[in-house]
Symmetry: C2
Subunit: 408 residues, 2 copies
């Protein structure tokens, strides 16, 4: 079955909002044996019509996100009804639920909210416990083919539970009897994309029915294989044989997952002392379920004084070498190791920019230190002259890889 | 001029990677007077052809991302050349640059890398200082119309500088003489989307040439206006008159920007004590340039012991009430205020899940505390029963809004 996704919303095309729906839906659909063949983003308004007409001509399952809100720019419901020649009829249960929701939250209703209770005739209303706009499921039969059209509200905290609780069960019925393919990803560190392919590509392509992809990541190459469980087992054997030391993460694990899982397996603990990454390292680590077993404490020591007070970095050391320096990174890591009683401590200090650069230490300069209980502290200097957010991400990736290499 | 974006990459449709290119390009194009009319994502491989054919029939400017790497699944260059009937010719400067790059990084070259030096005849090669694949710019004249086609490498740290340094100047020439529209966004807190529209919608729609949009955000509604500077000034007058206390951020400022800017204006400082948000709060704040002027220190106290050691939360308090409790949130905030000598301190403690819930405090329960120098600490309890990452984001948004309300 061919699946297409239509994301509506001018904010996506203006760049005010990053589209996280596509990745969410792609991840959720795959285990159901479904893959998105094409995704399109259109602005709010009449352009939704063209995208719907095109998708209806190609796809069996169409997921449309957004445009179900109460405001005048939300017209997905109306355009769909018009296109399929279905009258809009008020759904009593929805109207009651909307009224109750407003009463519960103490928000004032307006006439516009009543529009959200309307549903194209014959559609199935998908309850939305997290917002006013229900989802809608329409079966559209034309020329002997039935298309399955889902209209889903745009806010992620409404869309996600609605997909998992209501839409996924419907899709499961539609795909009953299919054997879904499996997907696995491996993160390869320290080799270029072309080199990775030259080592494993030919052998992997010889596996019948295996789909192979490569994706360059910061400091790593992700190898993606899709196929039957037998094909994936064959791929795994080849990858672990031919790249014995370079595979950091299996199953598409991120570096932070690899680090959390290795530390958990070893029964070791971690602390973080962050200046320039400002909590990004701790945040990435604590995104991993189970991180509380290994992550003891993070110190975001943005000011010089806090480096001294929270981590015991001598003020003279900062005065002498500057906060962005090898000795201060070292003292931060050792301070965090000590204060948190951890087995490992990572520290970052650098110039994220846009301000703060000097000829000696231009914007992008960063020192990463790893303190290890019972072993010498390691410090490395790097340069990531880029925008502030990318700088923080690259620094965190590099710090995680420094630790990974030690844990390997 | 009509702009379309084609993002290639199976990883985007499988959900392994979030598409951040679209938002980046949308933000960069707007000040040039250009808006993206439509965006499509297709998998690696032959599907790029259909998307290109369709875009060439509709758009004046087409930006294609991805598929320029050295591996066998990267064929954007080849498909484009074939579609436009252009032979591929090796570009000597590119080949030299690739060889130098490999030598500099100590990476081994493979035969595949030489493919990346090929360019369709007549195209302009766009240098890539951050990777091996250059970008390509093709002018395609057909039926008296010239289409401008840009092929851009997929890794964000290659795409972003290439767009800003090389492509934007070309687009500026193409759009010379146009007067770009302006965009402004306001974040409205504490009112539903329909209520916001009922207050300001009619008056805003009466402004000639103003384009109006609403977007529901966690705990807020974003109002977006696009138009001439006169239209935007009129919109601002209406919004600030009709929503005098509810507008948190102007110009599309995020809550963290609002908080950083208010604290900077007031000359006040902030500390953070995070348990369940694990550094996400500090990370959001330190994403804002200039945050170092107001953010002194963050304490990511994930373990109970670290709450005691880093923040001075009495161990008995944790034993008696549990780490996720009103008294512990309060003690964390007050401990951070004290240890960092800050004017304000925010603390979070909750159950992010998936594990760790109890009947009393199910997954999603969170306490947020705000300690204020010279005033009483405020603690509030919330419930965000959702996935781990969304839970962390909603908690941070709510904490920032607690502070914003005090600073207003």
């Amino acid at each position: 079955m061919i699946v297409e996704v239509i994301n509506t919303g001018s904010e996506l095309l203006l760049g005010n909002t990053v589209n996280t729906h596509l990745a969410f839906l792609g991840q959720e659909l795959f285990p159901l044996g479904l893959r998105i063949a094409r995704q399109v983003t259109v602005p709010d308004g009449e352009e939704i019509r063209d995208a719907l007409v095109e998708a209806l001509a190609r796809a069996d399952i169409i997921l449309v996100t957004g445009g179900l809100g109460p405001t005048t720019d939300d017209i997905t419901r109306e355009i769909t009804a018009e296109l399929l020649h279905l009258p809009l009829i008020e759904d009593q249960a929805t109207w009651t639920a909307i009224q109750e929701r407003f009463a519960r939250r103490g928000f004032e209703m307006t006439a516009r909210n009543r529009r959200q209770a309307q549903a194209p005739q014959g559609s199935t209303v998908l309850a939305n416990p997290n917002g006013t706009a229900p989802g809608l499921y329409l079966r559209h039969a034309e020329g002997g083919v039935t298309r399955h059209l889902f209209l889903i509200p745009g806010p992620p905290r409404e869309l996600r539970p609605m997909f998992q609780d209501t839409i996924a069960p419907i899709l499961k019925q539609l795909t009953a009897g299919h054997t879904p393919l499996l997907s696995r990803r491996w993160l390869v560190i320290g080799l270029g994309e072309s080199k990775v392919e030259s080592i494993i590509g030919e052998a992997l392509l010889a596996i019948p029915g295996l789909e192979l992809g490569y994706c360059a990541r910061p400091g790593a190459v992700e190898v993606r294989c899709i196929g039957s469980s037998a094909a994936l087992a064959a791929a795994e054997a080849i990858i672990t044989e031919k790249l014995p030391t370079q595979v950091a993460g299996e199953g598409g694990a991120s570096l932070e997952e690899v680090v959390v899982h290795r530390l958990t397996a070893l029964g070791k603990t971690l602390a973080a002392a962050e200046s320039c990454t400002g909590g990004n390292l701790a945040n990435k680590i604590t995104n991993i379920p189970g991180a509380s077993a290994i992550f003891l404490a993070g110190f975001v020591t943005y000011s010089n004084e806090s480096k001294t007070r929270a981590l015991g970095v001598p003020a003279e050391l900062i005065a002498q070498h500057g906060a962005v320096s090898d000795p201060v990174a070292r003292a931060m890591a050792e301070g965090a190791l000590d204060r948190a009683s951890a087995d490992f401590a990572l520290a970052t200090t650098g110039v994220a920019g846009p301000g703060g650069g000097t000829p000696d230490k231009p914007v992008g300069t960063v020192f990463i230190a790893l303190a290890i209980r019972g072993a010498a502290t390691r410090v490395s200097r790097h340069s990531f002259p880029t925008d502030r957010a990318t700088f923080k991400d690259l620094t965190v990736q590099t710090a995680l890889d420094v630790l990974r290499a030690v844990l390997a």
